[in-house]
Symmetry: C2
Subunit: 200 residues, 2 copies
Amino acid sequence: MKNLLPAPLETLIEQFEKLPGIGKKSAQRLAFAVLRQPEEDARKFAGAIVETRENIRRCKICFNLTDGEICPVCADESRDRGTICVVEDPRYLIAIERTNEYTGLYHVLHGLISPLDGVGPESLYIKELLERVKGGDVREVIVATNANVEGEATSLYIGKLLAPLGVRVSRLAYGLPVGGDLEYADEVTILRAFSGRNLI
Amino acid sequence: MKNLLPAPLETLIEQFEKLPGIGKKSAQRLAFAVLRQPEEDARKFAGAIVETRENIRRCKICFNLTDGEICPVCADESRDRGTICVVEDPRYLIAIERTNEYTGLYHVLHGLISPLDGVGPESLYIKELLERVKGGDVREVIVATNANVEGEATSLYIGKLLAPLGVRVSRLAYGLPVGGDLEYADEVTILRAFSGRNLI
């Protein structure tokens, strides 16, 4: 097929296609939407991409995303410096912050241990976590990884690594989601709900 | 919730959210993907948005998208200038070109008549279609709109408008999709397949 679309539009479609979960058709639809947007929105969009890439780095303490040296959570004096919650990704940090209950600090790994994908502990920020725990007055490390193979492996590794330091290492409870129906829960979730059962 | 994400990233998420079919979660996922992309890809992405907005306009003849004055289809000397295929959107032009069978020209309306959305014939390029048919040696106008209410209304309107000019006005056949199953076809499609039946 000849080039039916002008080159910049083709490039835009290609770039949309490179994003996760966006196929050829969606990319086309999104590119056409950009074309129909008010000029200002499109300019803002392009500007945000450039700025995001240029100005966003990882917090020196917890590796959360920030446009300064230290992220807002680490900079917040009112937070409990004795607790560190370990998350895979800044997205999970946001999810936990949304509950408005957790008042400790975070440590963002930017990945999980996954030998199949060639990701070992050394390519995550696990060494830095060890330094943080050694250096400060941390009482508890809460590992909040997802309940999948990589999440389990990472949590076990961290547990073993921190054990000699005498710090409490805990893990989120896994079980039936609140509002969920036992009938529709998968077997592994049900097993986890059994093994984690509490006295009432 | 406080601003957990750096401002440029928040802006990027907002801009993704403005695109059709992208919700809060998807927008976040896409913005994080941009953050993980190679620098060059992100720069290309931003560049393509700006260029698309700045350099792409509508062909002077058929209103297809182009970065020149006239689109590649209209500029192609080998195409049959006696046939004009009327489409709602450049996406449909691409779909038809993919068949590699149609050799005539196009006319892109950039919308369909839809009184409910306040879109009348005057906000589409229907006047320009009339001029094209009046001005040249057009033998046939093929209306290739979708088989929905707006598509029907637009096709009827164009049919009536062009009737006095003595040009042949036709419409795509609607019926069972090839490879489709009669059992799963909706009633309207089956009705269209019946009324459009051909002798064998």
